[in-house]
Amino acid sequence: MPIRLQEADFDVGAELSVLRHGDARIGAIASFVGLVRDVSDGAGISEMTLEHYPGMTEKALVAIVAEAKTRWSIFDALVIHRFGRLLPTEQIVMVAVSAVHRGEAFAACEFIMDFLKTRAPFWKREVTPAGARWVDAREADQSAAERWLDE
């Protein structure tokens, strides 16, 4: 259950290779990469800063991955999330899940992202032409997380 918070960028291909590590039981790897866009809520974004709560963030991610493992039969999950200053097109977050079949891998990967978005203590501050602003939580993210609670 590798979980990493870091300022540095990451290499998705290399991380997926580590997750696979030649394990011939794995038939499926679902993954997600989140990127900085240059537009947000209609405003141009020149850069973004990601703040987090050291200690609690790691705990929250460990709990989310553990919950995914109780819900689906998966081998392992990887979560990497960056903090600090990021520019448009840069990678913010990566989640990858290995499993025997794709259904479990997809579901667990999306679940982890949905819960990370609503439960892990990260905050985005964007710089727009009108100045810096803290990003508001999206209702769509809340809805995405809540749909897993009905299952």
């Binding site: 989140g34 990601l50 703040e51 987090h52 709560y53 200690g55 609690m56 705990k59 999330h81 913010i92 977050v93 992202m113 990370l116 978005k117 609503t118 439960r119 892990a120 203590p121 990260f122 905050w123 985005k124 501050r125 803290w134 990003v135 508001d136 939580a137 999206r138 993210d141």
Partner: protein
């Protein structure tokens, strides 16, 4: 003593990222602490109008009625926006 942390927009509004505070005898939960902070006035009074403020005690999400004891780490922050 409590270790209190403020994050993101709250940190900027209050002008503090953390503070140490002796747990007052009449404060028993997160709500009591929040009222104490608001009563300081000035920028602290803005805490009463912050929408959807979140709290954590010892790095677990908490509620207004979550109990506090000396040595606890308490955090206040806005809804999360990572990922």
């Amino acid at each position: 003593m409590l270790n209190i942390l403020y994050f993101a927009s709250l940190r900027e509004t209050l002008g503090h990222s953390s503070e140490h505070l002796d747990l007052p005898p009449d404060v028993h939960d997160v709500g009591g602490l929040l009222n104490l902070l608001i009563a300081r006035g000035g920028d602290w009074a803005k805490l009463s109008s912050v929408k959807n403020i979140r709290y954590a005690v010892n790095q677990e999400m908490a509620r207004l009625d979550s109990p506090l004891k000396a040595g606890d780490e308490v955090a206040f922050f806005p809804p999360v926006t990572g990922g």
